[in-house]
């Protein structure tokens, strides 16, 4: 078990865009194990993205096994994930291993359809909603060099989600 060092804001590497995984080999499996160990070492952590440990490939882990009240797929390793469809909007509170001691309110899509490869390189597709969809969006943002800080909403604009006006 190896816990890797987590990059912390304002480390400029957190802005770096990660490259797709091309080889599903044993080095990938070893890295995923380390990434998982690092996630489990973070208190209350439900997801992690490879760039957070300075590894710039499109790999994330989403793990809601500790949140049985929210519908979820358990622990997922998502490689080269792509959100192919999204709908709805919801405000929720987010924090980040890479931004210690701060949480803020963020608007995310309520429902997403996501395609990704699993650890063995098999293509998969997942329907996610609510908290799990939020975690996936947060982690995929890391692959594109984005932090939740880039999506903070002003308190006043949260009063009513915009969809209420549109409907």
């Amino acid at each position: 078990m190896a816990i890797r060092d987590v990059l912390v804001y304002p480390d400029p590497r957190l802005k770096q865009i990660s490259s797709p995984v091309t080889k599903f080999d044993s080095a990938l499996q070893d890295f995923i194990r380390d990434l998982n160990d690092t996630m489990l070492a973070g208190p209350g952590c439900v997801g992690i993205a490879a760039p957070q440990v300075g590894h710039f490939e499109r790999i994330v882990i989403v793990d809601l096994t500790s949140k049985p009240k929210n519908p979820n797929h358990g622990k997922l390793v998502l490689i080269n994930p792509v959100i192919v469809e999204s709908s709805g909007e919801k405000i929720g509170r987010e924090g980040c291993l890479s931004v210690p001691d701060y949480t803020g309110n963020i608007v995310r899509a309520k429902n997403i359809t996501l395609s990704a490869y699993d650890e063995e390189g098999n293509p998969q597709s997942y329907e996610m909603k609510g908290f799990e969809a939020r975690v996936a969006q947060h982690e995929i943002d890391h692959l594109d060099g984005r932090l939740f800080l880039d999506r903070l909403v002003c308190r006043r604009s949260e009063l009513f989600p915009r969809q209420n006006y549109a409907e």
């Binding site: 952590c45 439900v46 939020r134």
Partner: protein, 170 residues
């Protein structure tokens, strides 16, 4: 470590208040912490934490000229524990109804009795609607708050919504 102060400045709104006040604080060597700066009615209100090497009187004296320039009333309080761990809200409550006197008092009193500790409350008046958005911690659990809100909805003719805040860490 220099001590922390809470500065309150209130006055008729006009352009440049935030820039003027924060520049004055910066020139005095003060380090800003969290702040709330918001227009209320025709007033502009600033509450800001600042770390400063001098005393309460020295800070007041240093900021008074800019407060006078903008016709702001200034108040400075020493702060004992500025950097205590900020509480993370675990519940968000929205209440709205036809505007009338007493809504905020009724709602917050009932919620306080059911264990709500308010961390942030904002209200808005839109036409004839009064809107309350509250974030806080539920010290007696969410069910106790839900019960109170159901009562308020029934007895006071208010629309209420409670959503647990599940903070994502990732």
């Amino acid at each position: 470590m220099n001590p922390w102060y809470l500065l309150t400045l209130v006055g008729k709104d006009r352009p440049g208040i935030v820039a003027g006040v924060t520049s004055a604080l910066y020139k005095e060597g003060a380090n800003l912490g969290e702040a709330s700066m918001v227009q209320l009615g025709g007033n502009f209100t600033i509450m800001v934490l600042a770390q400063y090497e001098g005393t309460t009187d020295e800070l007041s004296k240093a900021i008074l000229p800019v407060a006078k320039d903008f016709d702001l009333r200034l108040h400075v309080d020493p702060v004992l524990e500025p950097r205590h761990q900020a509480s993370i809200p675990d519940v968000r409550i929205t209440v709205y109804g036809a505007d009338r006197a007493g809504i905020v008092a009724e709602v917050t009193t009932a919620l306080a009795e059911a264990g709500l500790n308010i961390l942030n409350l904002e209200t808005d008046v839109g036409g004839a609607i009064y809107i309350l958005i509250i974030e806080g911690t539920a010290s007696q659990g969410i069910d106790a708050l839900q019960k109170v809100l159901d009562n308020l909805a029934r007895e006071k003719n208010l629309e209420t919504r409670l959503s647990p805040i599940d903070t994502l860490i990732g």
